[in-house]
């Protein structure tokens, strides 16, 4: 059974269609990357999943329960970290952490909570009004990870963290996964998603345009190549070759995955001296969708 399953979620705000049929499926024990630019519908989707707003149509179930009707019951198993954490300026970080945990009705392992505060280097005696964005995010992260949850919904949780804290966060996610929890990680830090996620869905203008495992998705995209040959070569007009550029003694270019073998055959005819290849990054994948308008979706 999938942890999260949505089918054709739509949501309109007045005239604006924020979600136009979002289908997601997160399996148990996986970290699911949810990527897309600002305003694509990531946060709207997440707010539907948390029962904060109600979808106009479609179905959204977490652990088989309806996200709107069974919200309170479901939230026992869910921990949520918003991207924009707003706290109460006159309470300390420690007080807010305790409040959130107690509202989740979860049993807190005090030891573990203190450990997390330590790992995130948060001063829990300071008033939230004096915290920077990153520190406010740490408060929400500590509250989320201090008590175990079966499903973590994290909406751009690292946008204010420094690289060191980002690593602590990544460890937390990995530990949660090792415990068998599932994670929905919305982000636009693609390197983070690449590092953590098993599956990825890309959302654009309220619809999922690509979804699958990272390896699957990589097949859909181009490989970076750098070659040096004995004889001069020009493949710029070749089918499936993009951004042909002279670079030093050789050429750099990108190749569509399905043209790879034919291109390599051609190149070898010119006496291949050196070849370097880099796998497509998530960024390439992402940019490709946004540049081409995602017509292949």
């Amino acid at each position: 059974m999938a942890v999260l399953e949505t089918k054709g979620l739509t949501k309109t705000f007045g005239e604006v269609e924020a979600l136009k049929g979002v289908d997601l499926r997160v399996e148990k024990g996986e970290v699911f990357g949810f990527i897309g630019p600002n305003g694509a519908g990531k946060s709207t989707t997440i707010r539907v999943l948390l029962g904060i707003i109600r979808a106009n149509s479609g179905e959204a179930k977490i652990f088989g329960q309806d996200v709107w009707k069974d919200a309170v019951d479901l939230h026992k198993k869910i921990a949520y970290v918003p991207g924009d954490v707003n706290l109460w300026p006159n309470l300390t970080g420690g007080q807010v952490i305790d409040y959130f945990i107690s509202l989740r009705g979860a049993q807190v392992d005090q030891q573990r909570k203190l450990q997390l505060i330590e790992r995130f280097q948060l001063d829990p005696t300071k008033k939230c009004g004096t915290y920077s964005k990153g520190n406010r995010q740490k408060v929400a992260l500590v509250a989320a990870f201090a008590a175990e949850a079966d499903f973590y919904i994290l909406d751009e949780p690292t946008s204010g963290l420094d690289p060191l804290m980002e690593r602590v966060f990544q460890q937390c996610v990995i530990e949660a996964k090792e415990r068998g929890s599932s994670v929905l990680l919305s982000s636009h830090i693609l390197s983070e998603v690449e590092k953590l996620c098993d599956h990825v869905a890309i959302i654009r203008e309220g619809a999922i345009i690509e979804s699958g495992s990272l390896t699957e998705l990589r097949h859909l995209t181009r490989t970076h190549l750098y070659i040096e040959t004995e004889a001069s070569v020009d493949l710029s007009g070749e089918l499936g070759v993009f951004e042909w550029k002279q670079e030093g003694d050789g050429f750099s270019f990108q190749v569509d995955s399905d043209s790879l073998s034919s291109v390599m055959t051609k190149v070898s005819e010119h006496g291949l001296l050196k070849v370097e290849s880099a796998p497509p990054t998530l960024e390439d994948l992402f940019m490709r969708h946004y540049e081409t308008g995602g017509e292949n979706s």
């Binding site: 904060i52 949520y80 300026p89 006159n90 007080q95 009004g129």
Partner: protein, 534 residues
């Protein structure tokens, strides 16, 4: 060297004035209007020396002395003396509030929000900001003093002399400057704008209380409070300018201290060690109801005390009902046609006071309920709703808080009025005055229910305020404008039996409670089923 400390003081001062180009004129104009209207009002209320002597008798009592300061010149209680006694201290306190708000904004708030850092990276002096702030305040208060003097002279009341008028203005102005300096010091001590304001208000309250105790017990204690010095200037009676000079000298000294403290500290830091907060939430804070009450703690305490004073103020003037009501035609009309005399009149007055006090007391209840909308607007509700807390429980904890506040505040206002009334008026039983206010409790609950309904809807929040305004107009002007009775009965406050004049009517109260329950049920339903904004 001067540049090192005071570089670009004037450009900064101008920049601050530009930021306050609306705020400060609005304050000043309000003070001018407040002063002129009360002065002319006193003139028209007490036209004859006899009226004024009667008033003089009633104001020489400990309650009034504690509240307004000692009455000077009671043997010849002319309009000038009345104005100085009734209005000077209260106006000065409001001027001090203005100072505290504005100075905090330009000192610690700028620093806390990081604006000061931007400015100090420019070629400005280390003390330029605090100096500019104080300079602007000095200019503002000189202006205020002169304008108050001018408008008082211009209304042409014989006992309001030219000298007295300008002294009256100067007394207000110098109080403002003194508290500007005090706030500037506090801004050096505290690390936050909230803390700065808190400390400054605490100083103001302490000065006020020292003076109140000193004035009541006629001992030199009042000399330990600048507010006591200000009253010692005995405006319109003896015109002691020395007191004003003394205050200015002290204010100047305090301003110097502020600058010294500013010079010896880092930008962003406070001199008082910011004491670490609690790293854990108490059991109480962890419950939604406890949390909601804790977040409103300060305002609950402030309103409870405020409404007590409000009730007590009205309670202590009940003795004066004859003077107030009988001689002012408008007042008589407000109370309606079948005007009684003597104690009967007092009872009618109490009924009206009960309604008015409970309408005012409804304001904090609505504000309390609307805090839930504010949480939503400030994007804090999302993380709360994402927990196992159901929406019904969430809005329920706010409703319960508002209901607790209603009982607390109404009881405190009723207690204040009944206590002061029973102390000053022999015929009045404590319970009579207390019940006259507390009986309105169910009407305030209807308003809470309506506020909850608006929160449930997530819009039209102005509706509750409009309705409260309507209820106020119906009560306050109903007699004068002769509204038809159906218009009156649209207000929940009109459905409450007017104790002690009318008979107790339990079914009316029961009806209001049923109405409240209905509103609450609907609002819970609405809130549980709508999209939350943030």
């Amino acid at each position: 060297m001067t540049n090192h400390w005071f570089g670009r003081v004037w450009p900064i001062a101008l920049w601050q004035m530009k930021q306050d180009r609306v705020r400060i004129p609005v304050w000043i104009i309000s003070f001018l209007i407040m002063t002129v209207t009360t002065a002319t009002l006193f003139e028209s209320l007490y036209p004859s020396a006899e009226d004024r002597m009667q008033l003089a008798h009633s104001v020489v009592n400990p309650a009034i002395t504690a509240l307004l300061g000692p009455a000077y010149g009671v043997d010849n209680y002319d309009v000038g003396a009345i104005l100085a006694h009734q209005m000077l201290l209260l106006t000065a306190v409001v001027v001090a509030v203005m100072s505290i708000l504005i100075v905090t904004r330009h000192t610690r708030e700028d620093e806390e929000d990081g604006r000061a850092e931007l400015i100090s990276s420019l070629p400005v002096g280390r003390l330029s900001n605090v100096t500019s702030t104080l300079l602007v305040q000095l200019i503002v208060y000189i202006t205020l003093s002169l304008f108050i003097g001018l408008v008082l002279v211009s209304i042409n009341i014989p006992s309001i002399t030219v000298e007295g008028s300008f002294l009256y203005g100067a007394a207000l102005g110098v109080t403002g400057f003194l508290f500007a300096a005090v706030t500037a010091v506090m801004a050096q001590l505290s690390e936050t704008a909230r803390g700065t304001m808190g400390l400054s208000f605490a100083v103001m309250l302490t000065f006020y209380l020292i003076r109140a105790i000193g004035d009541v017990s006629y001992d030199p204690l009042s000399w330990f409070s600048p507010l006591g010095w200000m009253l010692e200037s005995r405006v319109f009676v003896e015109n002691n300018w020395w007191m004003i000079l003394l205050m200015f000298a002290v204010a100047f000294l305090i301003a110097m201290i502020a600058m010294y403290l500013n010079a010896i500290r880092d930008v962003g830091a406070g001199l008082l060690p910011s004491k670490p907060g609690k790293p854990h939430a108490s059991k109480w804070l962890k419950s939604p109801l406890g949390f909601t009450i804790r977040m409103q703690r300060t305002s609950i305490i402030a309103w409870t005390i405020g409404m007590f004073v409000f009730g007590a103020t009205y309670g202590s003037v009940l003795v004066e009902t004859d003077t107030y009501v009988a001689e002012i035609e408008i007042m008589a009309q407000m109370l309606g046609e079948d005007l009684g005399t003597g104690f009967e009149l007092i009872e009618q007055f109490i009924v009206m006071l009960g309604a008015i006090i409970s309408i005012v007391a409804t304001i904090p209840m609505i504000l309390s309920m609307y805090r839930l909308s504010k949480e939503e607007k400030n994007n804090r509700i999302e993380q709360v709703v994402a927990t196992t807390l159901s929406r019904r429980k969430l809005i329920g904890s706010y409703l319960l808080t508002a209901l607790i506040i209603s009982v607390l505040i109404m009881a405190s206002a009723a207690f204040g009025m009944a206590l002061a009334g029973a102390l000053t008026l022999d015929e009045l039983a404590f319970s009579t005055a207390f019940n006259a206010i507390i009986v309105y409790l169910p009407a305030t609950w209807v308003m809470i229910g309506l506020a909850a309904l608006c929160v449930g809807l997530g819009k039209w929040k102005g509706l509750t305020w409009l309705y409260l305004g309507y209820a106020f107009i119906v009560i306050y002007l109903g007699g004068i404008l002769e509204f038809p009775s159906w218009m009156k009965s649209l207000s929940p406050y009109e459905l409450v039996p007017g104790l002690p004049v009318e008979e107790m009517n339990w079914s009316a109260l029961f009806g209001l409670i049923m109405m409240t329950i209905l509103l609450i049920v609907i609002s819970l339903q609405l809130y549980a089923n709508r999209d939350l904004k943030g």
